[in-house]
Subunit: 415 residues, 2 copies
């Protein structure tokens, strides 16, 4: 079963927004065994939309469309769909009731542009939008399914999960596809490839292996295509097991989760608490952790100690350490981590101090020099990293390296 | 002048990575007056790549291709391009020297797969990759320019800025296009549209207005197309001025920068310092600030006080306040902000405490309840917000609202 995604909107084509919707939809559809043939971003332009719809329909059975459903003048998806299907527009009662309810809830007067959002092409089935005013639309024409959804991510996501996927399952007989992801940290793509070359060569034709590198991490994804769920699962598990054995300690998860979630899951299971002392990562480590629901069970909080004074007052780093060894040093990062443990009363702490750049580098400590520590009551691991000269990358790499050091310390304690 | 972007890789089509490259490239090209007709993501599949190249060439003059240049077996872009142009592969000396240097620098043995990265189609001009092993390739065939670049964002970005755009400027005569963005915070898209409807209706045919909403912010983008740079600039400035006058205090910037950068620029110009006391935003506010180079001039740091104990020990929130009014209250957020001012010794502080969800809500304080404070030595602004039930959105909206409150306080002080 093939699908295509068409995103409509000049925003994407002039680069003012990143298309995160498509990746999200692609992942959800893949999990159902629906392959995405192509993702196309086209402009808020009648002719271009019509052409993109017609082209997609020659390649795929399911066409998912997002964007261009807002109340403003540059949103033309709806009337273009009506033209594509050669039908008129009608007012939909459910969609109108939804719009009215939303405006009542927020005590806002209902404007004419908002009421118009409840008008839809006559041949569609409305998917009520529980999170916004623009209705979703399901079309079943010429053996193809077209679904038009708002471009606002959480409105689209809710529709896909609650309405679109259930309806696709009843409309089509879907094949079986199984993915398994192995998350590795601390080793590059080509070295992993060399290490596992013979296993990769031995994969049967129905299993594909993909390398997904990202800032100090490489995810290895096995995808198996076939008919029988249980058989595919067993097949994938066998190869995954071989890869894990070969790669060793660099494997940190056997599921597709971010590295900080690996830490959270592990620590939550054992009732352990964590705090963070961040200098050059500037709150990014704390943010990565706290974006996950339930993180407060593990994470007590931490300090973003950019200035010397805060390193002293919040974390108890000694003034003489800062002035003698500098803020970016083995001694300072040690005192930061141990200060967090002591002052914030957690079982584990991670600390990062470095020069993220682009400014602030010296000959001795160039941009990209980062010291990281992971500590518990018995031990403090300390390591120096030399990253590159890109600020955001240095922040991201530092965070990943800090989590990997914490995992190493947690594992040592396990034994 | 029209361009298309083709991204190659199953990663995007199965949704394991978000295509951030295309938005970035689109923005850079638009600034040069090159419109992006379509962005297409296709799979690591020979036939599909060939077809996408041929289709793009019927619509555009410039075809930018990213991805599929890695050392692993699923990377087939290079040989497919050779097939498309009907040429063989040759070893490129500059590209090989680059690969060898990189491996020497990191003291890694040069593997055969890495050496092969220096092989390119015979008809291309190599763009040396200063940040990685895969060379970029520039093809000029049949009056069209094709550029193939690695999918790794910072490798591609460097190539676009240093090689591709300069070469495009010498290859084509580019038209003039001018964008102007007005950043507004705290008012919804449809209300803005109603407020400025007559100005929008009065726009001449060569100027387009787009609404770009995002988490409590709406960017209004004026785009003017024409021949004469100075005339277009004046025309755009006139309409921008009308929009700004009409919208009033919700306008926070007249350029396309994020709201925290508005704060940083304003405070840096005036030599003011800032700290943050974050509970439910969990480090996100600090991260937004510290991702910007030079932020340490303004931002001293802050606390991520998830646990009660840290609110007390780091910020000096009174134990009785926490137990009598709760962690999510007007009193607590006030003490957090004032504690940050006092303990961290900054001119301004922002504090956020709330229930991000999905758990932790009560009837009295449902998920989405957030208290925010902005303080200086003379005044503390405090406001309650009622957001929705989505964790990440609540975090993002809280951050934007906090920055807007800080801007309000900064403006009050200006007068």
């Amino acid at each position: 079963m093939l699908a295509e995604i068409i995103t409509i909107g000049d925003e994407i084509l002039i680069g003012q927004i990143v298309d995160t919707n498509s990746a999200w939809m692609a992942e959800k559809l893949n999990q159902q065994g629906i392959r995405i043939k192509q993702i196309s971003s086209v402009s808020d332009d009648r002719e271009h939309i019509l052409k993109a719809l017609a082209e997609a329909a020659t390649r795929a059975d399911i066409i998912l469309i997002t964007g261009g459903l807002g109340p403003t003048k540059d949103d033309i998806t709806k009337k273009t769909l009506a033209e594509y299907f050669n039908v008129g527009m009608v007012m939909n009662d459910d969609a109108l009731a939804n719009v009215e309810n939303i405006f009542k809830r927020y005590n806002r007067p209902l404007l004419d542009v908002n009421r118009k959002q409840a008008e839809v092409p006559a041949n569609c089935e409305v998917i009520v939008n529980n999170n916004g005013t623009a209705p979703g639309m399901w079309f079943n024409e010429g053996g193809k399914v077209y679904v038009s959804m708002p471009g606002v991510p959480f409105e689209m996501k809710y529709m896909i999960e609650e309405a679109v996927i259930p309806k696709l399952k009843t409309t089509f007989k879907l094949p079986v596809i199984i993915h398994k992801t192995i998350l590795t940290v601390g080793e590059g793509e080509s070295f992993l490839a060399e290490k596992i070359a013979d296993i990769e060569d031995s994969l049967p034709a129905n299993i594909k292996l993909a390398y997904l590198p990202k800032m100090g991490q490489v995810r290895l994804r096995l995808s198996a295509y076939g008919e029988n769920d249980a058989e595919l699962q067993e097949q994938v598990d066998t190869y995954a097991h071989r890869l894990v054995e070969r790669i060793g300690a660099n494997v940190v998860a056997l599921e597709d989760i971010p590295v900080e979630k690996v830490v959270l899951n592990y620590m939550a299971q054992r009732g352990l608490t964590l705090t963070a002392a961040e200098s050059c990562t500037g709150g990014y480590i704390s943010h990565l952790i706290t974006q996950h629901p339930g993180s407060s069970q593990v994470f007590l909080g931490g300090a973003v100690s950019y200035a010397y004074e805060l390193k002293e007052s919040i974390l108890g780093v000694k003034n003489e350490t800062l002035w003698q060894t500098g803020a970016v040093s083995s001694e300072t990062v040690k005192e930061m981590a141990e200060g967090a443990l002591r002052n914030f009363k957690s079982d584990y702490a991670i600390a990062v101090t470095g020069i993220a750049g682009p400014g602030g580098g010296t000959d001795e400590k160039p941009v990209g020099t980062v010291w990281i520590a992971a500590a518990n009551a018995n031990k403090t691991l300390i390591k120096k990293f030399t990253f590159g000269n890109k600020r955001l990358q240095n922040i991201e790499r530092s965070a990943v390296a800090a989590f990997f050091m914490l995992i190493t310390l947690l594992r040592e304690n396990e034994q």
